[in-house]
């Protein structure tokens, strides 16, 4: 009997230790991934609100690598870009750098292109099941539980921002599951934003990218856009994109 009690004591002590370590590490993790001042933390019991509209301002002239580090950060965060069986044309690309050279002036620049998080997203309009959806806070993403893999959103997206998963995948990121037969794209790192953190690509290029609430006139991004502007790719489509560029 005393032996059993001894076991119990040891077990409880070990459990206490694990719990304490877990709590401590939680605190540490929280401290390490400090919430960004640009992304106010939303209490978990509060729904996403349309009072907020997340957006991004990318200063192309300050991107020394044309956005390559942003693309790498996105790959690391979401685990795309190296699907073993897919051909190069079948590889998913949530984000890529595009080199643009004006035919007349020969002026050239490189910029990162991904989902532009339109206010009026064509991909959401065409999706038959509503899997392609825009959250109240402006984040456009795919509900992978009801995506049937018809790829109509890929046909509709003016920015070629979406990819289809062509094969079974293993070793996926816990926070960013990818599924065979569904469509995927940049979701502004919704899992990070919900925790008050910046999207991975923004963290990778802090000198050139501002992330924040476009609806808040006092936010850093709103102030910067008011002072400097913020161009859209294919502004002629009147989609009012959440991703804006300086230096286009």
């Amino acid at each position: 009997m005393s032996q059993i009690n001894a076991y119990r004591r040891k077990f409880l002590a070990a459990l206490g230790g694990v719990a304490a370590a877990g709590l401590a590490s939680g605190v540490i993790v929280r401290e390490v991934k400090a919430a960004s001042p640009d992304v106010p933390t939303r209490p978990e019991d509060q729904p996403v609100s349309n009072k907020v509209r997340w957006g991004m301002l990318i200063d192309i002239n300050r991107l020394t690598d044309g956005g390559a580090s942003m693309v790498e950060a996105c790959k690391r965060e979401h685990g795309w870009g190296n699907d073993p069986k897919a051909s190069p044309e079948q590889q998913a690309q949530w984000m890529r750098t595009v080199k643009v050279t004006d035919k007349l002036t020969k002026h050239s620049f490189t910029l990162p292109v991904m989902c532009q998080h339109c206010e009026e997203p064509p991909c959401v309009d065409v999706c038959p099941t509503g899997a392609s959806m825009k959250r109240a806070d402006g984040i456009v993403q795919v509900n992978k539980h009801i995506c049937i893999g018809c790829r109509y959103c890929m046909m509709a997206c003016p920015y070629k921002a979406r990819s289809f998963v062509h094969e079974n995948l293993t070793d996926q990121r816990v926070h960013s599951p990818r599924g065979i037969g569904t469509v995927e794209s940049c979701n502004l790192c919704v899992h990070r934003v919900d925790k008050g953190q910046l999207p991975a690509c923004v963290e990778a290029a802090p000198q050139a990218v501002i992330f924040g609430d476009l609806n808040d006139p006092t936010s850093r991004i709103s102030q910067a856009m008011k002072a400097l502007g913020g161009s859209q790719i294919r502004a002629d489509l009147s989609l009012n994109t959440g991703v804006r560029y300086l230096g286009l």
Binding site: V100, L104, P128, I148, Y152, C157, E167, G181, L237
Partner: protein, 400 residues
């Protein structure tokens, strides 16, 4: 229906019939194998990719769906426009419409990334999506065709025959409008974004549906040794010519409009001039083989009453229709999206470059499997119910 007494009977299930049915089912089997392979492995085994997201299966599927609505026209002309010559063929026309639609939908569904989620497509609707509307339109079309056949075959339901015919005809026009609008509503793609896609698809459906109907009618009557006269065949012959010409006319208007819009010069130059295989397919496949040669065959005086020239014309219309859909669906996608006008672009995601697409054998198998399914359903339907007039000889049909 026709004032002359027309006798209908089931198709005789001869040895040749069973051979035909078995051949169709073998092709369906190939389609099933392809589906299982795609479901198990994923779409990396196909030629489709993230630049060309819709490929050969969609060409076959949309061909069958468009032809389905067109196949019903023979019945509609009999009922809605009261042309008694067409009335005896009404049941056959509605049966073919059902069979073709099921074949086409089967391909479309089995090519989905998640075919297992069909129930979600049936229960989650985004009503702003023309795709969602099409799901309703396709199901409604099947139901209306069945109702239409019922009013033709059951004396007690005869009073509803004109109404069923009218609703089915209206529904089929809206259905093809919806199919064309799948492309017409794509705002960002310069080869598609146009309201003319809807009437173009309607004209195509008239031509393709009738071409399929003519060929199947002819060979079914041969198979069962029934009489099929020049009166019926010649009427269908000239009707086919009108539909082919209408489809060509709308295609011409589409390209002329695009040629007037500077923004679209790039894609037009690609398709019409320097697009390699796509240019070849457009001029040789679509315009010459699918349009000019069939029209010449139909209007050539020396070939009047020549059944084989009509069959050849109808076959060429089918080939041309498949090519036209290939040029529209694949050609429209291989040309890059224009994110930055007046600029040259390059990226790791093939921005600014012409994509390549080669259909894999799995896509051929899936596409042909749908065709096999449509034919098998058609052949089974004719044995089960009395769709076929005993004779369509000139003396049996009433000219109007």
């Amino acid at each position: 229906m026709s004032s002359k007494t027309m006798i209908y009977s089931e198709l005789r299930a001869s040895k040749a019939y069973y051979f035909l049915l078995a051949s169709c089912l073998a092709v369906v089997g190939l389609g099933a194998i392809s589906f299982l392979h795609l479901e198990h492995e994923g779409h990396y085994v196909t030629g489709m990719n993230n630049q060309v997201v819709w490929g050969l299966p969609h060409v076959f599927a949309i061909f069958l769906i468009v032809a389905a609505s067109g196949a019903l026209n023979v019945a509609s002309i009999g009922t809605v426009f009261r042309k008694s010559l067409y009335q005896p063929m009404g049941g056959l026309s509605a049966l073919l419409a059902i069979a073709l639609l099921i074949g086409g939908l089967a391909i479309l569904v089995l090519d989905l990334g998640h075919a297992d989620r069909l129930m979600i497509a049936m229960t989650h609707y985004n009503f702003k999506s023309i795709f969602a509307w099409n799901i309703i339109l396709y199901n409604g079309f099947l139901a209306l065709c069945i109702l239409y056949i019922w009013t033709m075959q059951d004396r007690k339901m005869k009073a509803f025959y004109p109404y069923a015919g009218f609703f089915a005809f209206s529904w089929r026009l809206i259905l093809t409008l919806g199919t064309g609008s799948i492309f017409g509503f794509l705002v960002a793609r310069s080869y598609y974004n146009s309201a003319i896609m809807a009437p173009l698809f309607i004209a195509m459906s008239f031509a393709l549906g009738l071409a399929v109907f003519i060929i199947l009618l002819f060979f079914t009557y041969r198979l069962d040794k029934r009489e099929l006269g020049d009166l019926v065949l010649n009427r269908l012959r000239y009707l086919l010519a009108i539909f082919v010409a209408a489809a060509m006319f709308l295609e011409l208007a589409r390209h002329l409009t695009a040629l007037y819009i500077t923004q679209r010069h790039g894609i037009e130059q690609f398709i019409l001039l320097d697009g390699g295989i796509y240019t070849l397919l457009f001029w040789i496949g679509q315009v010459l083989i699918g349009g000019l040669i069939p029209l010449s065959l139909i209007f050539c005086r020396a070939l009047k009453n020549n059944h084989w020239s009509l069959l050849l014309a109808a076959s060429l219309v089918i080939v041309g229709g498949l090519v036209q859909l290939y040029v529209i669906i694949v050609g429209g996608q291989v040309y890059p999206l224009e994110l930055f006008p007046n600029a040259e672009v390059e990226s790791s995601f093939f921005d600014g470059s012409i994509s390549s697409y080669t259909p894999s054998r799995w896509e051929w198998m899936l596409g042909l499997g749908g065709v096999g399914l449509a034919l098998a359903l058609f052949f089974v339907g004719m044995v089960v119910l009395r769709f076929l007039p005993k004779s369509l000889a000139d003396s049996s049909v009433e000219d109007s």
